[in-house]
Amino acid sequence: MLHTLSIGELARRLAAREISSLELTRHFLERIERLNPSLNAVITLTADQALAAARAADLRLGAGERGRLLGIPLIHKDIFCTDGVRTSCGSRMLDNFISPYDATIVTRLKAAGTVMLGKSNMDEFAMGSSNETSYYGPVKNPWDTTKVPGGSSGGSSAASAARLAPFTTGTDTGGSIRQPAALTGVTGVKPTYGRVSRYGMIAFASSLDQAGVLARSAEDAAAVLAVMAGFDPRDSTSVDAPVPDYPALLDAPLKGLKIGLLREFFDGLESRNAALIREALGVYTSMGAETVEVSLPHLPLSVPTYYVVAPAECSSNLSRFDGVRFGYRCEQPKDLKDLYERSRGEGFGPEVKRRIMTGTYVLSAGYFDAYYLKAQKVRRLITDDFRAAFEKVDLVVGPTTPTPAFAIGAKIDDPVTMYLNDIYTIGANLAGLPGISAPCGFVDGLPVGMQLIGPHFSEARLLSAAHHFQRATDWHLKTPGGYQ
């Protein structure tokens, strides 16, 4: 089946002219048309542009050009600006926004010859862990459509899991690639802060946001990351460091790898999830890795720290949405103040407004020191804990989420309960570290993910570690019933 093949195998067949990009694109467009209504993963379909891009890729292939992603279809999370195509960020605020430019990662993936099938649904302005805050309705988990796919990259994770595209792009500010990847059984990669350009990626929290990929395997993700990553002069936080050839480094030997078992990760973890993570660690030790217990004593503070820092940054970033230059404008504003207040009050959903207000509060006079400055100090303590751990181990392995996917509607009423879904993922964002979630089993028919976190710029080692695990197991090859 074309949709169960790896990117490497698809590229091989395209290069050998056994299939054309046009056939491949039509195959996935047909799948989206048939399967997307049950998932609500794709909110903008770009069929005409996709067919044109596929024809262009076929011309390049016909002329003898080769590339790992040449002719390969993808779906972009609707947080990435795409020239001439609506970019909604899952919000009413941008429902009418046709982006006048491409994000850098969109440009790079286009230049590599990929074919954009459409834009995926997401939690509004990337704020959420369940894809229930989207203006366009919730996304369903293909493993059980009464359950959430995770968020905020829920549309991308559901689309990757249901094989609506060979890979999808996502963003991760507090776990928004890794957590949905875990809940839908795909491999999600959040790179080091500064590794991938944020130009054209609608900003939520500028010191935390990072773009990445959700794919069927670490091998596939490596091919995509090699194209996405790299210095961009248009992103002032982009790091000017060479990008390793991730696919070429996947088979680096695992023997002797020191894996940290984080004590704080296992406290309070649901027992069947914990058992699967321990089994996964058993696979690593049988391949020659060693495990060492490590402790990050300030890690339990990562969720409250994040819920001061991220809202503070978002309150600043979202102040640009004012009904004046683009986006939603309220009807018949009485005056400028009314224009701002009602455009924003009506254009944003409740979770976004909650976070803007939380951020405004923690930055306001009289509270700045107690909350925001304090959170920035705790952020340093958490980062220092990771640095100390990485002096003893090469990477840390643990769960990605506390439980498998929960029911749609189960947690949406209490923000704090929802926030605790990110308990294992947030630390990596605060410290700017790369992280991967890879499937490691099932509980009650729902996928469970294992998380690997490494030091800054250790993506090659993380991808290789995940790849070795995927050569010894086949969790990542499972497809949900109904989407096979």
């Binding site: 046709i98 006048p100 309150s315 407004k353 803007i356 705790v378 340093r380 303590l381 410290a431």
Partner: protein
Amino acid sequence: MSLTRQDVEKIARLARLSITETEMPVYVTSLSSIVDFVADLSRVETDRVEPMAHPLEGQRQRLRADAVSETDHHEKYQANAPQVQAGLYVVPRVIE
């Protein structure tokens, strides 16, 4: 409840967000529970800790030459504007 209705009204004004009468009690409750949740941070000893605004050490604001690198695309960029006149964004009258 750690935040009062007046607190939330003030925050909403600062953030330029209109909150309806029906929404107000829900926001008072949820914002209070968030503020209570993050108050845990006050337990941590941080007297000699430097605040961290940025996850990577040693990053500097890059500068570039003061040379023109963009060209005028205002019509394309203003295509998304709710109301434009002569290249200017139109809003309700501000000054009487």
